[in-house]
Point group: C2
């Protein structure tokens, strides 16, 4: 067998891979003031706290986070930018997988989780082009621009709506395959218009109507994970 492709330099981007996962988690966990507790981060990444502490020191030394003992961590501007680039790659990928490859929105997260670490500006540039420069990913989350800027509409949770409201489904919180499959099973997708028919006072179960479904019941758990805007 001829050794085609003998020119095969081994590129290892493992340094980034791990660092990138920390940065992304920090970005996603940041509250309004940008703070993240080591404990939360540890839970999110499923990495024990001492390991996280030591990594925070390392990221601190690289000026990617502000770190002081016993205080919550904050991404620096540099760190925020790097994190946003990764999230941009993740969300562009999700959009590409759904729109251009026909993969279901319940399956794209896991794939994007891997693709987001690919180092190739050209690759993501092409995705962006082919998609027509989308602003939102398939779950309604905003795609940061190349500088890491991201405009965020403050949507309302369906569980905060009142009887009689007519609303449009614009985003989902929690992109677990199970939850998205549940939404599929009820024909619930982004852009759908619904009307709140009834809210059970006891457990906040919401009864809604939409499309051909005149009376569908959604638990509070579901209602809290659906973001909507008034029509």
């Amino acid at each position: 067998m001829l050794p085609l492709h003998a020119y095969n330099v081994y590129i290892c981007q493992m340094n980034s891979l791990i660092e990138e996962n920390y940065l992304k988690a920090l970005f996603n966990l940041s509250n309004k003031s940008g703070e993240v507790n080591v404990n939360e981060l540890s839970r999110q990444l499923q990495i024990k706290m001492p390991t996280v502490t030591s990594m925070m020191k390392k990221l601190g030394a690289k000026k990617l986070v502000h770190y002081e003992s016993y205080k919550p961590v904050r991404l620096t501007e540099k760190g925020k930018k790097e994190a946003a680039v990764i999230i941009r790659k993740h969300r562009l990928t999700e959009m590409f997988l759904v729109q251009k490859m026909g993969i279901g929105w319940e399956d794209v997260h896991e794939i994007a989780e891997q693709v987001e670490h690919i180092q190739s500006p050209e690759f993501f540039q092409k995705m962006d082009e082919l998609l027509g420069y989308p602003k939102l990913d398939p779950h309604g989350s905003p795609i940061p621009d190349k500088n890491g800027k991201m405009t965020w509409k403050q949507y309302r949770k369906m569980s905060d709506c009142k009887v009689g409201d007519t609303i449009k489904l614009v985003a989902v919180i929690n992109t677990s395959a199970e939850f998205l499959k549940f939404l599929n099973s009820r024909d619930l997708r982004l852009g759908l218009k619904l009307k709140i028919k009834f809210v059970e006072p006891f457990d906040n179960t919401i009864t809604v109507s939409y499309g051909k479904r005149q009376s569908e019941m959604l638990s509070q758990t579901v209602g809290e994970r659906l973001l909507v805007e008034k029509v």
Copy 2:
């Protein structure tokens, strides 16, 4: 900022990543009898020999290679299959990048080198489907099927052709960006028909005609990297 995508399990396929690079290199370097020297492997991967030796022991323990001290290494059937799957993913990706994303054949190798490690049968299944189950990658190398089987035509090097031969360019050996850019600059692409006009006996420079070019000179180095079939 709302923590959308809070469900974000960190998947680390680093074990595979490194192992996969060894397997791929072993596959690509295998000669007719399937043997690879530790030294070659070391050169290919740019990893020092002792490291390679110890990895061969590890792969041996996992029944991915046959390893005996001071002897060349051979992939086991299991190892060959795993390697072929990675090469399949690599080549499918290259084809996808060229055909569906409009990326130049000189740029796809580096991206595919990263994408090939993605763990998602669905992702590669979709690529295959969208491409119409291609048998060859953009450089003319065969894409192994899902079981790792790969049919290989034994092509001839352009440098072995004689004056008067009419040939078709079917594959390139060496997929370095520099070489492919050189081919681009001469309008040399797969499928192109050429005629051998003259071979300089002194240095084996080949003069060919094709398309609008009546007399293009190609060095032996180039001729050895172009695989052709007689028309």
